[in-house]
Structure formats: structure tokens, C-alpha cells
Amino acid sequence: MDQNISVTFPHVLIFFPLLAGLITFLFKKDAAVKSWALFSSIITLIVSLLSLYYANNKTLSGLDFNYEWLKHIGASFSVSLDGMGRILTLLTAISFPIIFVATYKNQYKNAPLFYGLLLLTQAGLMGVFVATDALIFYFFWELAIIPVYFLCSRWGGEKRIQATFKFFIYTFTGSLLMLVGIIYMYLHTTAIHDKAGLLISEHSFSMSYFYAVTLSAPEQNWLFWLFFIAFAVKMPVFPFHTWQPDTYEQSPSAVTMVLSGVMVKMGLLGVIRWLLPMFPLAVAKFDTIVIILSVTGIVYASLLAIRQDDLKRLVAYSSIAHIGLMCATIFTTKQIGLEGVMIQMFNHGINIIGLWIVIELIEKQLGVRKISQLGGVAHKAPTLTIMLVVIAFANIALPLTNAFVGEFMMFSGLFQFSICFAVVALVSIILAAVYTLNMVQKVFYGPSNSLTATMKEISVNEQIALSIVVVAIFLTGIYPQPLFDLTKDTVAEIITRFK
């Protein structure tokens, strides 16, 4: 039992935002709080980038860490960074500075509380992405929601309380079901012994112990659904998605960006890291059902997105469609598809945050976000328009943008699984083009009205935020290889399990 107490990257990624968030509560002045939040999120980003650099440097130990937390029940504070963990912590680390910069001019009542809770959310998300102990995973899984609940209910739109409550009850129910699954798995793990062979605990919450459990097919079948519902609510997959448009619409923009850009990845990560390796038999049995649900969701959400007049709801439905595609591809368990999902998780986060920033800009300046009330913004704000067009192209997955590579690979995976599903899902690309270009055309081109005539060009901080997004779109669109290299190990691990 060697307690290797050294501070490692995953720890800094969790505890620095946590500490920074707690410190934020002590601030009195709003201006200072903003700078502090931005500053601390940039430090987190630097740590995250450093962890990438050391990714290929195997000699540097200290990426895994194990602290005997609740020894007698076999739970330990074990965190580790694998390829998927790195890419998602990087996404979390990048998003927060972008969000802080983009909303720098916004005035939030009780700013210290607002930024503090946001940083706590970041800590919770990091925890989910690096946890390799089921109990720790569950801890962070729940803890990431609590600050979001308060953020949305306090600073959101008119119907915020009901919308957020619905969101909370949905996810809480899902995660409690997952808890039962975790406990069932836990009680089937083998005992932990220390080096001298003495019994430490009869069971273990450790991920490697969970992977080693062999369950019969009927057991896998019902456990599969316990876990899947929790993840499906979070992603969200049709028909568990009904909380999502309301919550996205009602949340303050900064929180919507976190929710849609980063938090939905919790569900995807859960499926890849926990569900697939633990229940291979059940996955083989239910993969068609899940893919049918996802593909239905893709088409359904895309059709709804076409009909939306509210910009926020449009992006919300578009997000359901994109996530649905990722979920469907994961369940094909094809290598090329999974590789696509890995980079698409990152790219989707960047793109959707870009879209939200643009919507936030329009709403802040004009006070409306109905497509029917807008038009001709391009005349007044050409820079914004150029940025938006790039992001919109990325949303439709045009070549040269980041989403192209990912979606292409995902469709290849889906195609290998079943031509039929691939064809139906491909329709979503056309539908995505319809609603995205329609939105661009109606909002930014065409005649301007009295309202949009007052539109001004975007300010410096917004330019910075959007430029980062646009650069990221092109960078990973033209040269996605680093992202593939990073996530090779995770994909290989899953593929070996399904051979």
C-alpha cells in the first residue's frame, strides 16, 4: 500500500478551479472578480496544455495517483488522464476562458457568486473526466450539476425556475439509477489485498476492478439500462431530451455555453469509459435499439430546428442532432467511428460555444433573438458576420472546418455498421445545412429593419473570443492529426474489448 502523495496534473485540474471558485466567493468588487475568474481559468488552461505536452513523455510518472480514501469500503481518490480524459479536460480548460472573455462586458448581479459557481462547475467537470474510481466519478457527476442548478435558477430567463428544476429532476433520477448500477457492480468485484496479502476491503470501486467483473447476460442487460438512462439524460438522447431546449433557452448565456459545450460530453464519456467496457454483451444486444433512438433523435431534432424561430432553441435542437450522431456512432464500436467521436467531442464543444457567443451578442445588443424580427445584421457588423459564417460552416461540417473530419469518420463507422442507418443519419447533414444557412440568411442578410439598424460592430473582447473559436475551427480542420494521436489509446482499448 504505497501512498504516492504527489501532486499531478489531474489533481491540479480539479483542485485549482475548486480553490479559485471558493476564493471568488470572498470578492466584493465585480470588476476584480471578472479578472480573477479569467486569470484562474487561463492558469487551468496552461496546466491542461502542459499535461498534453507530457502526454508523450512516458518517463515522467505522476499522471496516476491513488489516495486511499474510504479504505474499508474500497473507494480511493484515484484520477488519471488517458487520451479521452486529456481531450475533454482540454476542452473544459479552453471553453472557460473563451466564455469569460466573451461575456466580459456582461453585468451579472452578485458577480462573485456567479463566477464562483462557474469555476466550481469547472472543477466538477474536470473531476468527471479524470475519475477512475466509480464512487469518485459519481461524486463529481452529481457535484457538477449543483452549481449549474443554482446558476440557471438564479440568473436565467423568465421561466428559469421550472426549466432548471425539470433539468435537475431528470438528471438526478438518472444518476440515482446509475448509483444502483454502480453498487451492484461494486458488490461483484473481487477483494483488495495489500502487498502482504492482508484483506483491505472485500470489494472495490476502482475502474480496473469494475472492468474485471464478469456478469451473466441477463445481469448485463438490466445494468446496461440503469447506466444508459443516466448517460442518455445527460447527452441527451431522444426521448430523454425534453429538458434540454427549455434549459438552454432559459439559462444565462455563459451557463448555456458550459452546458452545451462541455457538460453534454459527460454523458458521452460515461458511455465510452464505463458503459462499453463493462457490459459488452448487453451492448452487442441493444446496440441497434440505441442507434435507432439516436438516429430518430437526429432526424426529429433537425426537423424541429428548421421550424424554430428562437435562435437559442434552434441551436439547442441542432445540438441534440449532433450529439445523437455521436451516440449512434459510439454504439457501432467501429474503430474509425470512435476516432471520429473523439475529435468530434472536442470540435462540437468549440463550434457550439461559438454559436452561443454570436447569439448572445445579438441578444445583448438588440434585446431579441427571434429570427423573424432580425435581418441584415451583416451591413452593420461585417466582422461578426464573417466569424459567424465560419462557425455556421463548421456546424454543417463543410470540408476544411473541424467538424468535417469528425463527421466523415463517424459516418464511415455508421456505414460499416449498417448502410440503412447511415443513410438516414446522412439526411441530417442536409437538414443541418437547411436550418443553419436559413438562419444565417435571415438574420445576417436581407433587408435590415428598424431594430437591426441599431446594431453595432462587436467589441474587442468578443472579437478575441470569436477569433479563438475560428482559429480552432481551421486548425483542427486542416491538421487534426494531433487529436488522433492523443486519443489513440482510448480507442484501442475499446476496440480490443469488442474483438
Binding site: 457535484l143 428544476f165 435537475f168 433520477t173 451492484y184 458488490l187
Partner: protein, 464 residues
């Protein structure tokens, strides 16, 4: 043993002290002193495994680290109650000293109920515990609701005592060998149960279910908890209820443990019914006090999982549950007592007026919901592990977590009122909160979070 002696003696001291105490605020300090003495004595016994005075009790009571840890938790929670709400006990009526004396007698009953070894001491313990409670429930003499609650409680309690006695009689008469009241002698085997024993078991089960307010014997609970003065509701809903569970576990483990297969289904159904009724009724309550009464039934449903499973996790868990649930509920009641308006709307805008109270109330509510990082989560986790480990009724576990999801609904309604709603009432609330009260609330909230991260603080004592 130490705790029984000290609580009994101090009860008498408080009772007669009433003659000598001139100021109304005096008894409180005496009571706190006595309680601290009892805690110290009890912890000494826990560490040394030996009481100060050796009394030959003919093995009618047994003390081990499990019992003693439970008694320590209960005494500490009572101390917290005294410290938080000492002044509110003074406000109930004129006979302050008597109230404290009665609480000490209840505590004496609790210690007996937690350590009994024969059915007779169980009966004695339950009576010692119940009779003072009837009086405390009706202590708000000029309040009709309080009177009604006391009468209702007394009648129902008397009934359940009768049933308990009858069950004991059946067990005594039905035992195969020499008749005996010792629970280890009653120990029935796995085989088919004789009719007399089966009847005895069911009668005892009913009596115990009544004491822990489990469905379908829960009807007294909401009215009694609602009618009693809030300080005593806080005491009854937490400490006394937990004592009932300890007795329940002890009785069923030693006497009927081997026949678990035969009664387990019955408990499973009762647990499901309690969870469902408690949670669904709590959803519709407008008064927070009444909501907490129903929520205490719902929480009892979760604690029943321990009796359903009866394994190591269950026993560790029930103590953790006692601590987690008592701390949160006592804290919440302490805040509620300070409010003028007991409805959920009364909590509107609390965050603006009293940020600290609002924050601690939120921690308590999150703990009751079972959010990670709070003691309530660990307690629920232990209960669920215990129930899944048993392995026979997995539907019950899933049912339990779905009910826990319902509970999030009504607990979060209060959180919503506290943080997200504006206070529209024109009545200005005068806040009778001292800095000491606030500090204590913060300490309670901290304890809940510390227990949520390191539940081992309590559970390690069991392996002492």
C-alpha cells in the same frame, strides 16, 4: 451503563431542581452540563469497554461498541438540540425544568432500548421513552392542536404497547424449550415457524413499525409532529425515531435473524409502502413543518432498508443515517422555529435577509436529498449497498432510489423559495438569532460535509 445511570439521575436532579431554579434560563445550563457529563462518561465506556460502576444486571442489557457508538451519536445530537434551541424550550411554557427532566428520561429510555437483551427490558425501555413524549407533545397546554396531538399519540401509543406485550406473551409461551425472555434464547431457526411464534413475530413487527412510523402504521406521525411544539417535534422525529430503529434491528437480528427469509418479503413491502406514502404526501404539503413530518416517514422508509438487509453495511449504515438525518433535521427545525411563517412561502427571500441561515438550510436540505459531499449521501449509499448486497429484492432498491428522486422535488422547493423567490409579505420578521446560534449552525453544516467526505469518523468506532 454509564449513560443510563447519568441520564436517569440527571433527570431526577432536573425535576427536583425545578423547585430551586429561580431564573427561567438556569435549567438550560444544568441540562447542558448533565448531557456533557453523560457524553463524556459514555465515550469513556466506549474506549475502555468497561463502565465506571459494575452493576450486576443479569445480562439483561448488553453493551458493545455498536450500542455505545449509537448512544454517543444520539447524545451529541441532543446536545446540539439543547444548544441550538435551548431558548425555544424555555418559550414553550413555565415548567422549563420539567421539560428538560422529561427529555433526560426519554434519553434514559433510548439507552435501554439500544442495549436491551430481554424482551422485558425492551418493553421497559419503550415505555420509559414513550410516556415522557406524550407529556412533551402536549406541553403547549393552551394550544388545542398540541392537546389533540398528545391525546392521539397517547391512545395510539397505548395500543401499540398492548400489541407489543401480546407479541412478547406469544413468543414466551410459544418457545419450544424452557420459556425465556432473553432474545438470544428466542432465536428461531430457519425451519418452519410454529404458529404461536409467527403470531408473536407479526405482533412485535406491528408494534415496532408503529414506533418508527412506518406505513401502514404511520397515521399518527404527521398530526403528532405537526401538533407538538416544534422543538419537541425536532427531538421526536430524529432521536426517538432512530432509537426505535436500533431496537428494531437488535430485536430482529438476535431473535429472528435466522428466519430472515420468511419475513423479508413482508419488510420489503412495508418499506416500499412507507417510501411511497411518505414521499408522495410530502410533495403536497404547504407547511414546511408538516412536510418535514412526512419527509421523516420517507426517511424512515430508507432506514427500513437496514432491517430488510440486516448485514454489516446495514448496521454501520443505520448509525450513519441516524447522525446524518438527525443533524440535518435538527438544524432545519432550528431555523424553522425562528420563522414566523411555517409555510414554504415563508422561506421566500430568506437568502437576502439571512444569508447564513439560508446557506446552512440549503446544506441541510441537500443532505436530506442525498447529494454527494453531504452526510446524507453516505448514509443512503450504505443503505443501498446493504440492500443490494442482500441480493433478493433488487426491485426494492430501484424503487427506493426513484422515491429519493421524488424527495428531491419537495426539498428543492424549499431551496427555490430561499434563493430564487422574492419575499412579498408586508410583515417584518424580527430575527431572534444570536451569533452563537449562527456559529452552531455553521458547525452543524460543516459536520454534515465532513461526514459526507469521511464517514469513517463514525463507522471506525464500530470496529473499535
Amino acid at each position: 451503563m454509564n449513560a443510563i445511570i447519568i441520564t436517569a439521575v440527571w433527570g431526577i436532579v432536573m425535576m427536583f431542581g425545578g423547585v430551586f431554579f429561580k431564573q427561567k434560563s438556569k435549567p438550560k445550563y444544568w441540562a447542558i452540563t448533565g448531557l456533557i457529563l453523560a457524553i463524556i462518561a459514555n465515550v469513556c465506556e466506549l474506549i475502555k469497554q468497561h463502565p465506571f460502576i459494575d452493576v450486576n444486571i443479569k445480562d439483561m442489557l448488553s453493551f458493545n461498541s455498536f450500542n455505545l457508538t449509537f448512544i454517543t451519536v444520539v447524545l451529541l445530537c441532543t446536545l446540539l438540540l439543547f444548544l441550538l434551541n435551548g431558548r425555544d424550550i424555555e418559550k414553550v411554557g413555565n415548567n422549563v425544568s420539567e421539560y428538560f427532566a422529561l427529555i433526560f428520561f426519554v434519553l434514559c429510555g433510548v439507552t435501554i432500548v439500544a442495549t436491551f437483551n430481554t424482551l422485558l427490558t425492551l418493553f421497559l425501555g419503550i415505555e420509559i421513552l414513550s410516556i415522557p413524549l406524550y407529556i412533551l407533545t402536549g406541553s403547549d397546554k393552551r394550544n388545542l392542536k398540541s392537546n389533540e396531538a398528545a391525546l392521539k399519540y397517547f391512545l395510539m401509543g397505548a395500543f401499540s404497547t398492548g400489541i407489543l406485550l401480546m407479541g412478547i406473551a406469544f413468543l414466551y409461551g410459544g418457545s419450544a424449550g424452557t420459556p425465556s425472555f432473553y432474545i438470544s434464547n428466542i432465536n428461531i431457526g430457519e425451519g418452519k415457524m410454529p404458529v404461536m411464534i409467527a403470531i408473536g413475530l407479526v405482533l412485535l413487527l406491528i408494534a415496532m413499525l408503529f414506533k418508527v412510523s412506518a406505513a401502514p402504521f404511520h397515521f399518527w406521525a404527521p398530526d403528532v409532529y405537526d401538533g407538538a411544539p416544534t422543538v419537541f417535534t425536532s427531538f421526536m422525529a430524529t432521536i426517538v425515531k432512530a432509537a426505535g430503529f436500533i431496537a428494531f434491528i437488535r430485536l430482529f437480528e438476535y431473535s429472528f435473524g435466522n428466519a430472515q427469509q420468511q419475513w423479508q418479503m413482508l419488510i420489503a413491502v412495508v418499506t416500499a409502502a412507507t417510501l411511497l406514502i411518505g414521499n408522495l404526501s410530502a410533495v403536497f404539503q404547504q407547511s414546511v413543518k408538516r412536510m418535514l413530518a412526512y419527509s421523516s416517514i420517507a426517511q424512515a422508509g430508507f432506514m427500513l432498508l437496514a432491517i430488510f438487509a440486516l448485514n454489516e453495511f446495514a448496521k454501520e449504515g443505520i448509525i450513519l443515517y441516524t447522525a446524518a438525518y438527525s443533524l440535518a433535521t435538527i438544524g432545519l427545525f432550528a431555523i424553522l422555529i425562528k420563522m414566523n411563517d411555517y409555510t414554504i412561502d415563508g422561506f421566500n427571500g430568506l437568502a437576502k435577509q439571512q444569508p447564513l441561515l439560508a446557506f446552512t438550510a440549503t446544506v441541510f436540505l441537500l443532505s436530506l436529498t442525498g447529494i454527494p459531499l453531504t452526510a446524507g449521501f453516505q448514509a443512503k449509499l450504505y443503505m443501498l449497498i446493504a440492500a443490494v448486497k442482500d441480493g433478493h429484492q433488487n426491485w426494492l432498491v430501484i424503487f427506493a432510489v426513484l422515491c429519493a428522486a421524488i424527495s428531491a422535488y419537495y426539498y428543492f422547493k424549499v431551496i427555490q423559495a430561499i434563493y430564487f423567490k422574492e419575499n412579498n409579505s408586508t410583515v417584518n420578521q424580527d430575527w431572534d438569532v444570536t451569533p452563537a446560534f449562527k456559529i452552531l449552525l455553521v458547525i452543524t453544516a460543516t459536520l454534515i460535509i465532513v461526514l459526507g467526505i469521511f464517514p469513517t469518523i463514525i463507522t471506525d468506532w464500530l470496529h473499535y
